[in-house]
Amino acid sequence: MFEILLFSPSSVYSKKQDGDTVQLTGADIVVKSLKEEGVEYVFGYPGGAALHIYDAFHRQDDVEHILVRHEQGATHAADGYARSTGKSGVVLVTSGPGITNAITGIATAYMDSIPMVVLSGQVMKPLIGYDAFQEIDAVGISRPCVKHNFLIQDVKDIASTIKKAFHIATTGRPGPVLVDIPKDITAEVAEFLYPETCELRSYQPLIKEPLPNEIFTAVEAMLNAKQPIVYSGGGIVAANAQESLREMTNKLGFPCTNTLMGLGANAHSDPNFLGMLGMHGTYEANMAMHDADLIIALGARFDDRITGTLHNFAPDAKVLHVDIDPSVIDKNIKADIPIVADLKEVLVAFNRELDRREKDINPELIKDWWETINKWRSLDSLWYNYDEEVIKPQFVVQKLHEITGGQAYVTSDVGQHQMYAAQFYGFSDTHRWINSGGLGTMGFGLPAAMGVKFAHRDADVACITGEGSIQMCIQELATCKQYDLPVKVINLNNRYLGMVRQWQEFSYEKRYSNSYMDSLPDFIALAEAYGHVGMQIDKPADVEGALKEAFAMKDRLVFMDFITDQQENVYPMIESGKGHHEMRMRPGSKNLS
């Protein structure tokens, strides 16, 4: 997105003046500020209003700029980087269409509380408000999907604003922050001094520690629970609290479930782990929520995909709810014991209190509960039949787990394949499962995998996708070529927008309106056209061999087009308007006697 340069920057060179003060252009201040923040990569796309900043990138090699093929890809790549490292992702785009294209990715990060700083070029200050070329009110258009945003008015404010942006993005409940920078001030010169701290009197993200009486009350409830469940979400990932969580659940022997965003918090192999809960969660996880007398909610927000209908939700449960964001407490579900604090600190305090009261932990109290749960478990609600003729998508995901030792970073797009990945990959650690949970953004998987790959060069990175989603950001295959990113694309190709088709089958009497994908590209040829390796696999017997072959190609992106069962559905399912105890099971499922 280019604009003809109407003028040349008057002074783009940094020069040292008397004393210690360094005079730099606004553009150089932007890049130096990023360096001060320890930024390794900036994902972006140039254009007129951002050109001074791009020129400044050209003058240094401390911070590497990654050229994507579409601004949506830049935001998802920064997002994947952030989710897999815990650090803030950074994006640079130009004004107008640059920022509007980035909005989907910003909203994706916002809904999942991912730290991200987005720098956008803006038209020159004197032109703002005059419908200039490539002008859009970036602050206005992004406002509903950012944690905060800024329009910088003065070159002297660039460094301090970037400092604030990183501070806000990464503290409290994380989220994206946009910094809009008019072009003229990136050419102006100011003294560069990166602030060490930032003062924001109106932003005081929780610094309070959990109170002793809160911890006592919570632990007391745990010790007296007969039917407890630990329900943890993305907050565990954001707080890096998985070790403390596992310590707590091991001490108590309580059943645990994770949300889609929290997968990996409990290892899939942990016998206390009941799998994911929610709309496509396991029967045992949802039933345990429904029948619980104590729900220990940790960094999770009781959203509609978790709870089903609210009036049916866990009728007999006392709710202990821990979150760093006060606004999620009592939003959907009333908390009996609310604790607003940093999750990790709370879990450490729980563990300390549990150690002190070790003799009061009574496994007998929850013995009957486990018996009931194990009965639910015996239904094996995720079951499916292996088919000799046609590839079952679940089978591909299970084989992927085997071949990568369960240690891959797995990104996904949105739809059936996302649920198969969540149900069947089996994560052992946090930060490994990278998906758009809140916004549900198709097109997320491939660019997110690029961001992951930049952060973890030697790790296996797989993008589980479908033939619908992959086409929403397919252009990023070129970025993967340019930067040698050997991502493995696992395309579960059922020639349908599978989740839409499934809902149409269940709720619209099989009227498959616009859910069929006709005229699909030849994905092998497409991958090859971008300079990658393409494979098509249509026999179940070839799945394992093909995956082995692909993952053995350490330095190549392999696009694996798996031709899968068109009629396969994701089970079990809580349908719209139903409660946790009313799951729709796969036809032919066992019954509980």
Partner: protein, 166 residues
């Protein structure tokens, strides 16, 4: 329940739209919203009159507090408070009704300005309820236009809305 929420807001461009955007995005009611600078030039004071059950009001306060530009807020309706709204009513009155109008104005402690032939502006400050009553009393006259300021208010006693010191 009707609540009056006072907000101290950073005097930054766009701060107002963050608040109004929050209310529309989350479907909260706004009965009135006023905003003006305070004695501290870096802060504006906003007064929002809204309605909702306790749970909704709790969410409104929490969501407002999450906005980076919100420095402090207070629901002044939870205890004793002074509530004031200014209203201006332009009326057309025939000769024989002028005395009646003057009587109504006196009863409400309102002032009258003679603005044109047979036209008056009635000006009053009082609680929103009082303003409603005044408009009700004037409903038999020919009202040309009405401007209401929306409510502002302060809590009684020592409670004050100030920026908390970190």
């Amino acid at each position: 329940m009707r609540h009056i929420i006072s907000v101290l807001l950073e005097n930054e461009s766009g701060a107002l739209s963050r608040v109004s955007g929050l209310f529309s995005a989350r479907g909260y009611n706004i009965e009135s919203l006023t905003v003006a600078p305070t004695n501290d030039p870096t802060l504006s004071r906003m007064t929002i009159v809204t309605t909702g059950d306790d749970r909704k009001i709790d969410q409104i306060e929490k969501q407002l507090n999450k906005l980076v530009d919100v420095a402090a807020l207070q629901d002044i309706t939870v205890a004793g408070h002074l509530e004031r709204e200014v209203v201006l009513v332009k009326l057309k009155v025939s000769e024989d009704q002028i005395d009646k109008l003057k009587q109504i104005a006196k009863g409400f402690n309102a002032s009258l300005s003679d603005v044109s032939t047979n036209q008056f502006i009635v000006e009053m400050s009082g609680s929103c309820e009082k303003v409603d009553e005044l408009l009700n009393s004037l409903s038999n006259s020919e009202i040309i236009e009405v401007a209401r300021s929306g409510a502002i208010g302060l809590a009684f006693g020592e409670d004050a809305l100030v920026v908390p010191q970190p």
